[in-house]
Amino acid sequence: MGKNVLFEIGLEELPARFIDDAEKQLEDKTKKWLKEQRISYTNMETFSSPRRLAILIHDMDENQATIEEEAKGPAINIAEDEAGNWSKAAIGFTKGQGKTVEDIYTKEVKGTTYIFVNKIIEGKQTKDILPEFKTIIESIQFGKNMRWGKQTMRYARPIRWLVALHEDEIIPFEIATVATGNETYGHRFLGNKLILNNPLAYKQQMKESFVIVDSAEREKMILDGIQKIEEQTNFNIPIDEDLLNEVRNLVEYPTTFVGSFEKEFLDLPEEVLITSMKEHQRYFPVKSNTGELLPYFVGVRNGNTEAIDTVIKGNEKVLRARLSDAQFFYEEDQKNSIDYYQDKLKNVVFQVKLGTIHEKVTRVVSIAKRIAEALDLDSTITANIERAAEISKFDLVTNMVNEFTELQGIMGEKYAQIFGEDSSVATAIREHYMPTSASGDLPETLVGSVVSVAEKLDTIVGCIGVGLKPTGSQDPYGLRRQATGILRIVNEREWKIPVAEILDMVVEMYKSLNLEHFNQESVSQELHEFVQQRVAFVLKERGIEQDIILAITNNEIGVMSEIFKKASILSAKRNDESFKPIQEALVRVLNLAEKTNETEVNPAYFETESERELFHAYQEVGHNYQKYCNKEDYDKAFSELEKLAQPIHQFFENNMVMADDEQLKTNRLALLNRIAILLNNFADLQAIEWKQHF
């Protein structure tokens, strides 16, 4: 039966966003440390709240495990003197290990015999090692650290107390002048200072002092509270996971409550209400069973139900002030026109070297127009795309977005509708920011998709052109995310324009502007490389193997939907046993074709039937391949290529490619090269590591 150990780090209120991760680190680091220290235990529990991180280790062995270790000495020719007695070197070695020559045995290592002794490493007492736990506490990483007082230490927030208990004994150490002890603090207002004497009683003792140290339990209390409210009312309270996670880490003892606001605020756009409640005040909005917002909210207090009416009243007052502000902005904003806001954009800088938002929007219009042209869209849709691109940013200078920045695009859509814009234009203003994350929703409309792609292309090409390419973990303009977004949209929409062409089109447009800081020379190559990396990233996300990715990205970036189809075909073939003979034939052609640049095949020089047959097969396959590619049936197109395997085998069986006759040899290589070019049209098949799978 081992002993129980408790550590608690007492802190000033930690930022809610750091808590879960810090708790996880505490667990992982402790596990790793105990393993290194050879200290066994049965299990561990971790705890966290805004003011503490804690870990309870059950049944810890009182000693480190004792282990026997092999110690390697000198080689036998050094360990023995000429007479065959142990040399000074050997005696010195055994002494150094606390052994005698009696303990020596020999073993061969890589052809040489060495002497060895078995060394016992005695386990130390656990209690002598536990003070080193200090380093675990110090090593926890947070997103942002600070200093306090005269301390040089950096931590998420100041450390105010430390509990370190080995059963009822204090484990002595000190961090930033705070010494360990057995005193902790309960809830700031409802609890007291308390003495801990038994690690196992930690959770219960804290609970009695109004601190729920188990964050899952706090979450459950909140959810139970919400459920109870739902049972007593006709409310439907959707649970936003992120909000729930944040709220449970803002309180040590949660109590849910219902507040209300004036019905007339429901005239505000729903997003404004939800943002005010969720983002600003951390309330859960309340809906009816039919999904409409109700003039209520659910808040979570850090405390019990005492004087809860005062708390509710206070929260209602704050929300009312926020919503009154929003209402004022909403009304004010509608007094101006889109032209008024467009004009204001001339004073808002997008990026110093890339000009104002107004200038950016002008570029986006021109890119969007070119995309619409390439897609051969009709004039009505094209006109809507142009208009949507033109006014895509007007809402940025409205009062509402100025105050509620997270409503960019959303207010744009609302206001555009109010100002009488076409509904597809209005929707595109909202959609052009999509997707907002790697797996975020894509624009649903065509107009929104075109503007979204154009806007992102402008940012990417512009930033790369003025030397703001992402490096390492630094991507301040989110270029990677935006490039991935473009590829996803282009694929989803099945646009048949090769990505490389779109990129070139934007580069041309930029070059024609002659911007002072725009590097006309390097931009194109850097841009293509950057986007190729993003294509590789997207393929990898879909589980495509690295070599297949290379096979695809070694070619110019083509049509996205085509790329995905080709990749999945190759990926399947690569793992298909029956494909082996076919791939052997194809690879042989590819290898040999490297020996020439010749593409001129002269049928008159053919000597054998198999030569003629292969040439004939090549012509037929080439024709059909193109036909299927045009139909975008890449499965069939690839099947055509596979048909070449049989005549290729025949060809190699009956012909000597590297013939002595120069003319014959050149002609045969030219034939193989023609076939290789055809194969490579599908992908750079040579990049695929076929062999490792057969």
Partner: protein, 292 residues
């Protein structure tokens, strides 16, 4: 509790915590942090404890005295302690009790909020303190001031007086707050709020303000070259306020804006550096006082 009594209570409380009670600094500024009593004194190794009310001017927030929540000029109660004491959160909560706010009857929380003032090259970490969902105090551990590492760390408490009063007095409109018996904010400040808004947004002489900015900037530089740090800093404050007036008038484009901010920041940085050097030359007198 009326505002006057709130201020008296906070002054008494922090005076008992050995803070020097100062009066407001007599140059216009946008926040209590900009007073030299905070900004300069939080630099260097010398201990410092001070509390004062700072009337803060934010020209862009002027609303002609018509908006129930916004003011051209509001009041901050500022507490500055260097190095930050270990029990500063407890002291702060005690001060709320002194104002009659019983924590058991409310929901008081420390919600992460990291503060930054690029104009002054200043940044800090801390919280906004919520009272039943309302932000009543900015609680900051300075990490950097005037581009210099803060060492030891100064803690700054900024109570929003009107915010706190609207809660304590249970008023929806800032103009209904009682300053002292018989006098509301409306009585005292409505006219200046209207006139300052009118001046800021409609009547200010833009050309003159641009000229003033350049003159103040030049004077700050010249004064600092002569080693006169406090007067030089006064001119930085004047630059800052002039800039705020121009900005509120909407005559500074965003491109120019960054330029102006970096001009003020450069001045602030140089002054911060010069201040620490001068204190060092003087042998950090406050440090010696503490040792005695």
């Amino acid at each position: 509790m009326n505002i006057q009594n709130m201020i008296l209570t906070l002054q008494k409380f922090w005076s008992e915590q050995n803070c020097i009670l100062m009066q407001a600094y007599d140059v216009e500024k946008g926040a209590g942090t900009m007073s030299p009593m905070t900004l300069l004194r939080s630099l260097g190794p010398e201990p410092w404890r001070v509390a004062y009310v700072e009337p803060s001017r934010r020209p862009a927030d002027g609303r002609y005295g018509e908006n129930p929540n916004r003011l051209y000029q509001h009041h901050q109660f500022q507490v500055i302690i260097k190095p930050s004491p270990d029990n500063i959160q407890e002291l702060y909560l005690e001060s709320l009790k002194a104002l009659g706010i019983n924590p058991l009857e409310h929901d008081i929380r420390f919600v992460e909020d990291n503060w930054e003032n690029p104009t002054l090259g200043a940044a800090g970490l801390g919280w906004e303190v919520w009272l039943d969902g309302m932000e009543i105090t900015q609680f900051t551990y300075f990490q950097q001031i005037g581009g210099l590492e803060a060492n030891p760390v100064t803690v700054e408490l900024t109570y929003g007086i009107e915010r706190l009063a609207s809660y304590i007095q249970d008023k929806e409109n800032v103009f209904d707050l009682v300053w002292t018996d018989g006098f509301t904010i409306k009585d005292i400040f409505k006219q200046p709020e209207y006139e300052h808004s009118k001046y800021t947004f409609e009547e200010s002489d833009v050309d003159m303000l641009f000229q003033l900015f350049t003159m103040y900037e030049l004077e700050a530089q010249k004064t600092m070259e002569k080693g006169l740090i406090f007067p030089a800093y006064d001119y930085v404050l004047k630059c800052s306020h002039t800039f705020n007036l121009l900005d509120a008038r909407g005559v500074i484009s965003v491109t120019e804006r960054t330029g102006y901010i970096s001009r003020i920041r450069n001045l602030a940085r140089n002054i911060a550096k010069a201040y620490v050097e001068e204190r060092e030359r003087l042998g950090f007198p406050m440090l010696k006082k503490e040792e005695q």
